[in-house]
Each structure stands twice: as C-alpha cells, then as structure tokens.
Homo-oligomer: 245 residues x 2
DNA sequence: CATTTTTTATTTGTCTGACATTTAAAAGTC
DNA sequence: GACTTTTAAATGTCAGACAAATAAAAAATG
C-alpha cells in the first residue's frame, strides 16, 4: 500500500483510499488487524494524527472498527446488512431532501421497486410476515393515530411485504427507497377517508400475499401508487388555493 | 448542538453524530459554513485534533467539504447523485463479498429490480439510451473480448436500460445492484456459445424497448435471468467435476 | 482613477511530543 | 489451581507549533 507524494489531495484522504482499496479488492480480509497507528505512520511517512484522521474516515464508513488496549488496534469490519441499511437510509434521505427530488419521482421509484418484490413475497412469505402486515393494518385503523405514527406504520407494513421476499439484498435495497420516502409522505395530511382507502388497499395486498396471488398483489400495489399520487395532488391543490386567497 | 459528557463513545464520534443529525434534520442547510475548527473545539470543549477527526468522519460520507484559506472552512455538502452512486456501489459490493451472499440471491435481486425499470424504460427511453444499448451489443459481439470486458459491457448495457426509465432515484438504487454483481459475474467464464445467447437476449431486450413493448422486454429479461442462473450452475458443476477428479 | 501587486489575517493541513485510558497477557500470590 | 496484581501495548485525547492556501484589504503602479 502506497500513496502518491505528488498528489495535492489530503494525506489522510489518500491513506484512507489506499486502505479502502485494499479492503474492497480483498487484499485485507475481514477481521484482519491493520498495523498500529504508529506503524502506519511510519509506513506512510506521516504523523500519527494524520493516520488517525484516515482511520476515522474508514470507521465512518463501517469499513474498520477499533479496539483499545493491548492487542487492540484497527480491524477490518464485516459490513453487516444492518450497517448497510442505515447507511442506505441516510444517503437516500439526504439525496431526496438535498436535490429537491419531486414527490412523483420518489414515489414512482419506490413503488416500482416494491412491485418487483411482490411476486417473490407472494411465493415465499412466512406466517410471521403476514402477521406483521395484519398487525400494522390494525394499528392503521386506530382512530387517534397521528400522521407521523400512521406513516411509520405504513413503512413497517411495506417493510414486512418486502422482507417476505426472503431476499436480504432486496430488503437492503428497498430499505432506502421506502424509508427515505417518509419525510416526503409526511407532507401529506391523511384525512379519515384517505386512511380508510389506504387501509383497504393494504388489506387487499395482505390478502393477495396470503393467497399467494402475485397478480392481485401487483394490481393492488398499482392502485396504491395511483392513489398516493392523487392524495399528493389534492394536498398541493388545497395548498395552492389557500395561498391564493 | 451538544454532546453527552457521560457517554463512553469516542468524543469524535459523538461530535460527528451531533453534526450529522443537524444536517439530516435540516438545522444545517446545504452550503452553510460550520464554525471553524478552533470554534468547534471551544464549543464542544475538546481539542482541535478531536474536532478534526469528527470532521473527517463527515467528509468520508460526503456530508461536508472543506476549503483551506481565509474564509475557508467546512461547508455542508449537497449530496450529489454521483456521490451517492459510488457510496452505494462500494457498500453493495462489500455487502455481497463479505457476507457470502449467494450468486442466486444477488442475481434474483438484481433482475427483480431491473424488471421493475423495464416498463418505464420502454415508455420513456430516448434515442440516446437506445444507441448506447446497441453500441454495447456490438461490442459484446467482438470476438477477442476478455471476460472482464464482456462483463463491463454487460453492466453498461443494463445501466442504459435502467437510465432509460428517466428516474434518477431508480438509477441510483439500481447502480448498486447491477455493479455489485460484477465481481460475482466474473466467476463465470463465458463460452462463445453463451455469449451468443446473451447477445441474442440483449438484442431482444433492445428491440422491445425500441418498440416500447414492455411485455416483450419483461419476457426477455426473465429469460436472461433464467439463462444466467443456468450458466452459473454449469460453471459450478464443471468445477465440482474437476475438483473431484 | 483603474488596475495590478503586495500584504495580511484567517483557516485548514500537518507535525511533535506528551499523557490518559483501556485491555489482555504475564507475573505474582494465596 | 484460582485469583489478584503488574505490565506492556494500543488507542483516545490534549497542547502547541508551523506550513500552506486563500481571499479580502491595502498598497503600489500605470
């Protein structure tokens, strides 16, 4: 592992990149211990604080973990699905909020991906997944629920649907798409009637998944997509009318 | 922004988290300048190196950028789609390689997501997307192509297909799924005959997208999925037979 | 006066050296 | 042999310093 002394980039960034490359290319394997900070400083011909900055960069990406004490040090970290989930969710959320991604675009992406999972979920869902979906539907029927709580339950419902596909890679990919939508969904105020309509569609989806009927599930999801967009348009129209007066 | 003095976690990690929360929750907005390192050190009652480690953690996630000189400093960074792509690709790649995700699981996820894009792509693809797909097909037909180059062209073909949907969020999500598969695909040695079959399917996909025929595109993608899995099984069987002898 | 150059203050990047804290192995004790 | 103490190695943190970059302000120049 070497760094380019002519490069203008920060030394800590270069060192971090060199180590990252080694991990991605498999030259450093999971749980392998990196040299100590002092040794790395010596190896790269920089000071220890610089090495530390590089290591913190890697730690921020969950690429390494550090342990204090004798025989401690920095170890290549096994990137868990859980770590990947949360990274994915933060990234997606910021991407949507910072780039002014339209509701329609985000919504389309989310439901397109979700519909890709539905047939697999219909085939493989366990009673556990179904139970979660039904439980969330019950929660969504409770009267005094806040809009935030309703949205959270909505996310939980759709996560159960996606998890039903039994494919952790799909679940990971969808986590970002579904959860990142939540701040956008929070723009919508759910009336009693719209909640009723959503719950009815959720019930149809759950029924279809239970009956292992991929076609029906897809149809219900398509309707939910359309209905969500309608809701958004209503909210926007109402706001425009209010702002005009 | 405050940190918990009783927490056992690293100070730099706590500080990074506090700032990250402020960004995600919108209390710090894009292009806003953070206080200087000296001011942050004063504010959090820690030393400057500690603050710097925290800032490097954030820089590693593209949450901030730093600029030297007078009126320089750390600024909240607009997370670009490009930044998000590369983060997504690294994460997905490591997730697959470190957790021994099976070829079948990754393949299923990839094609499920891709099939979700196909109908949208059939509807919205521009001549540009079509041209890219056709060009990659031509490249894939070249005789002396290495397996790696064939795989790379394959990725480019499928990216054009996904980009054709005209939804940057979908493109971002798919980037991880498609690119992360590449190391796994590299396990496969493509015979002349298998390449021919793949190119034929690619041509069918491009034809369907050109004709705006979502159903045909979906069918071809389904066949490609099945064929890819067959190829993998053949490679595995051949390897098992070789190891046995 | 307008333009260019120089100065200057500010801020990040890096280094040196030191001490505190944690941790597990090694040594000592009963 | 089981328990306690010591010790060495590593990360975590701090203080202070200098280098380098950068843009605003000041000075010089035509």
């Amino acid at each position: 592992m070497k760094i380019d002394p002519k490069s203008s980039a920060d030394l800590s960034a270069q060192i971090a990149q060199a180590i990252k490359d080694a991990i991605v290319e498999g030259r450093l394997i999971v749980d392998e211990r990196l040299p100590s900070e002092a040794e790395l400083a010596d190896q790269f011909q920089v000071s220890r604080p610089t090495v530390r900055e590089a290591l913190k960069r890697l730690a921020a990406q969950s690429l390494i973990r550090t342990q204090r004490g004798a025989f401690g040090g920095a170890f290549v970290n096994r990137l868990s699905f859980e770590d990947a989930y949360s990274q994915q969710i933060t990234t997606s959320t910021l991407l949507l909020s910072m780039n002014a991604v339209s509701f329609d675009t985000a919504c389309e992406a989310r439901f397109a991906l979700e519909r890709a999972c539905a047939p697999l979920s219909a085939e493989r869902r366990t009673p556990d997944h179904l139970a979660t979906m039904r439980a969330e539907i019950v929660r969504q029927n409770q009267p005094g629920l806040t809009d935030e709580a309703f949205c959270a339950s909505d996310v939980a419902f759709h996560r159960a649907l996606v998890d039903g596909a039994g494919n952790p890679v799909l679940s990971y990919q969808l986590a970002g798409a579904v959860e990142a939508m939540q701040p956008l969904m929070n723009m919508i105020t759910f009336t009693a009637r719209s909640r009723e309509a959503i719950v009815a569609l959720h019930t149809r989806i759950a029924d279809a998944i239970e009956a292992r009927d991929a076609t029906a599930a897809d149809a219900a999801l398509a309707e939910l997509t359309a209905y969500t967009l309608t809701l958004k348009d209503d909210v926007m129209a109402a706001r425009a009318a209010r702002d005009k007066s």
